[in-house]
């Protein structure tokens, strides 16, 4: 077998990686629209995000199937096998991130047509969303560049999101006794929680970067044993 053998297979694997990670661009765009819909209580835009999630799901199904075919036909080992394993995980993360955008967009109509009950909480959620979009693009870049340090840094970035989420919770507790305002705050908490989960998925992608590079899978942070 000459040097550079299996080029077709290598090219196919590279194309599938690009396609899978391209799913993160779709998610980032979906989250951008979601934030806009939250900010302006734009129900139509929210509906577009919900409908558009089919593209993310479609990407998941298409790339997933192609990766399974590579497993069945090419007997990948070593780095190729780790990459395929990681991409299968990442695809699932991307699909979940898309679903979280849908979850947020589905609750927007519940927040009513009145102006936001608490502008500070809206701004917190928008800040969370922006920060999470940063996480998404950083996760993609860390994967493309196989940069474990950049992947690990996602934990630090995600802490910012987590803190904002807790801040939202505190604001919701203090929103007062008015039933409508409380309902609005509960709805916004669901949105904040969904964004926070998107950030967690970005960190999970970072863990897969470390797996591809080192061959060891370790959670960057163990939620059930914090500080360990």
């Amino acid at each position: 077998m000459p040097d550079g053998a299996r080029t077709e297979y290598q090219e196919e694997l590279a194309a599938l990686e690009a396609s899978a990670l391209g799913g993160l661009d779709l998610v980032s765009a979906a989250l951008g629209r979601t934030l806009e819909a939250v900010e302006h209580q734009d129900i139509e835009l929210a509906q577009i995000v919900v409908a558009d999630d089919d593209r993310i799901d479609g990407r998941y199904l298409e790339v997933h199937q192609a990766l399974i075919t590579l497993l069945a036909t090419q007997s990948p080992v070593a780095t190729d096998l780790r990459l395929i394993s990681a991409l299968l995980h990442v695809l699932k993360n991307i699909e979940r991130m898309g679903d979280q955008c849908v979850n947020i967009c589905k609750v927007i109509p519940l927040s009513g047509n009145e102006p936001p009950a608490d502008e500070e909480m809206v701004q917190l959620i928008l800040t969370m969303g922006k920060q999470t979009r940063t996480l998404i693009s950083q996760a993609k870049r860390a994967f493309c560049e196989r940069d474990v340090d950049m992947a690990r840094d996602l934990v630090r970035q995600d802490d910012v999101v987590d803190n904002l989420n807790r801040e939202c919770f505190r604001l919701a507790l203090d929103i007062g006794d008015d039933a409508d305002r409380r309902e609005w705050a509960m709805t916004m908490l669901l949105a904040a929680r969904a964004i926070e989960r998107i950030g967690d998925n970005a960190v999970d992608i970072g863990e897969q970067v470390a797996y591809v590079v080192t061959g060891l899978f370790r959670e960057f942070e163990d939620a059930s044993h914090p500080g360990s």
């Binding site: 053998a5 990948p76 070593a78 780790r82 061959g215």
Partner: protein
């Protein structure tokens, strides 16, 4: 270990109670090969082995251990010296004109190239199964298995020999297929059966180590998987080293994988990396290993 006649006589302890050959065993009547033998496999320790064909330096500075009760796969592209290395482990390399060995190869501490060591006895203790099934074509199935016994143990009583032939054929997963035609020529068997016959012949003389040189390369996938299953079972009794060009076979059938490579044609082959098979196929340390197991060269 190698010299004394008394040690080489493989008088089977299973003789008592053994049945005439050909009689169908009832369930539970035949001791399993493992419990019947009950002795440990042995370690081969290789240090600084350098192998030559005349002036040509074929294998350079190999230091590795082949562990008991494990299957060690030797992989690498053609010409990397893995078969030469395998053949040095039971002193078959020196049978090739100009074939010489420098360095030490020890079987449980004893230098197999030491002074006064009988190479024939080394080859009995360290058996070899070859690439193409090579039963003696005119011999019966029975005589094929018994061939090594006749050479090694001198005169042996028929019932003792029967017992060993049956035990060896059972050990090679061939007994049920041939028990009613033991007097027929071995060459009448299928390729996969012939290879199992050769394995039966190799284990009949109770070796400590089995070396296999691409034992499945001439076999179809079903026969290949049957041999791999057999290898998995035989490792409970023997130390096994197997040369294979089939990467998936190394991945499936071995516990330890050793990758040999040469920089370019005409240079000696070297051991690049050895480790648990899982590691070699998931995260090898060396780029050359990664490229080879991934099929990027070779």
């Amino acid at each position: 270990m190698f010299g004394a006649k008394s040690e080489t006589a493989e008088t089977p302890e299973q003789t008592a109670g053994s049945k005439p050959l050909g009689e169908t065993a009832t369930a539970g009547s035949t001791p399993s090969p493992v419990s019947a033998i009950g002795r440990g496999a042995k370690t081969i320790d290789v240090s600084d082995a350098n192998l030559y064909y005349g002036d040509f330096h074929a294998v350079e500075d190999v230091t590795m251990k082949i562990e008991p009760n494990k299957v060690t796969a030797l992989i690498g592209s053609s010409g990397c010296g893995k078969t030469t290395f395998l053949r040095s482990l039971n002193r078959m390399h020196e049978l090739t004109p100009g074939g010489t060995v420098k360095g030490e190869i020890r079987l449980d501490g004893e230098d197999i190239y030491g002074r006064g060591i009988d190479p024939v006895e080394v080859r009995r203790l360290i058996g070899m199964v070859f690439q193409a099934p090579n039963p003696f074509p005119t011999m019966s199935i029975y005589d094929n298995v018994a061939a090594g016994l006749n050479l090694n143990a001198g005169r042996m009583k028929k019932p003792d020999k029967d017992a060993i032939v049956e035990r060896s054929l059972r050990g090679a997963h061939l007994w049920e297929e041939v028990k009613d035609r033991l007097d027929k020529p071995g060459s009448g068997l299928s390729g996969g059966q012939q290879q199992r016959l050769c394995i039966a012949r190799a284990i009949a003389v109770e070796p400590e180590v089995l070396l296999m040189d691409e034992p499945c390369s001439a076999l179809d996938p079903v026969a290949t998987l049957a041999i791999e299953d057999l290898i998995g079972e035989l490792k409970n009794r023997f130390t096994i080293a197997i040369v294979t060009h089939n990467m998936q076979q190394a991945a499936r059938a071995s516990d330890i994988t050793a990758f040999f490579n040469l920089e370019k044609s005409g240079t000696p082959g070297r051991l690049i990396e050895i480790g648990p098979t899982e590691k070699i196929f998931m995260k090898p340390d060396e780029k050359a290993t990664e490229d080879y197991v991934s099929g990027r060269f070779g």
